[in-house]
Amino acid sequence: MEKGGLSTVTFTNARDIAAHAGNPRQIFLNYPLGNPAGRPHDVENQREVLRAGLKLLEDADKAGIIVDLPHVWSESNLWMKKFMTDEQPFLSEEGEARRQERLKKAREQKARQSQHPFPIVP
């Protein structure tokens, strides 16, 4: 989108994924996945996050800047250790079943398409 002429800011909870991707302007909020724009039910916090993004938009003079916001999710960092482990599997059983179903559909579609000599026009 940046190449297309827009100025963009990405808000992320996953600093390493975002840094690896290489986005033009990034705001990193060290909160659990699912909260890129702030703490749930905390209006002032959400406004602070957005304001940080808008400030970066105005201040950045080159690509690739990451601003690390100082906000802390909780006193204990245990949530970071426990995320995506046997103790706290990422998906619930139903969620995992849904994910497998989606993967199966994607594989089937890919198999169907590889049987066609010409690309399928959407």
Binding site: K3, G4, D16, N23, N30, P32, L33, A37, H41, Q46
Partner: protein, 167 residues
């Protein structure tokens, strides 16, 4: 600052579940940069997310059925930028469910916050629609199908700034 290294964590996790192939996270060598074309107070702003959600009508019924990812169809969905947050319900599963639910839409799709900030005159206007696209794991799909469609609509709507909230 301690933070989760998701690339390693996801690789380890899926390997422990028996998946050998590791996901190849997107990487751009050359990062593009478009300086702000005009003062922020004159800019039109849009919001783009990969969170999955449904829009509800006034009776609380979804406007459309939930679509599954993983197809080659274009997966770009719009939400009018003046839509009320209490008629948006998350169907996302890409979050830390032990720490957070997705009940406050503004924590990942800050539509109300942007409507408020607009009234304060911080930027010129909001785009007609905000966008969501499914967190498709295919780089090709994102860069060749969904991304260009969002860009096309944004250019048509004369959008200057895009705020992105991947989930």
């Amino acid at each position: 600052m301690a933070y989760i290294h998701y690339i390693d964590r996801t690789h380890e996790y899926y390997r422990s579940q028996g998946y050998e192939k590791t996901y190849n996270y997107a990487h751009n060598e050359d990062i593009p940069f478009t300086p702000l074309a005009r003062p922020l107070s004159e800019c039109r702003v849009t919001l783009v997310t990969t969170a999955s959600f449904l829009l509800l009508d006034e009776e609380g019924r979804p406007l459309e059925a939930l679509k599954m990812l993983g197809t080659n169809e274009m997966e770009v969905f719009t939400a009018p930028s003046d839509w009320p947050a209490d008629r948006i319900v998350s169907t996302s599963e890409d979050h830390d469910r032990y720490q957070t639910d997705m009940k406050d839409v503004n924590a990942f799709f800050p539509i109300t916050r942007l409507q408020e900030i607009l009234k304060e005159g911080v930027f010129g206007s909001l785009s007609k629609n905000f966008y969501r696209t499914l967190p498709n794991y295919s780089h090709r799909k994102t860069t060749e199908v969904d991304g260009p469609e969002i860009l096309r609509q944004c250019l048509e709507d004369k959008v200057d700034v895009a705020l992105l909230t991947p989930v």
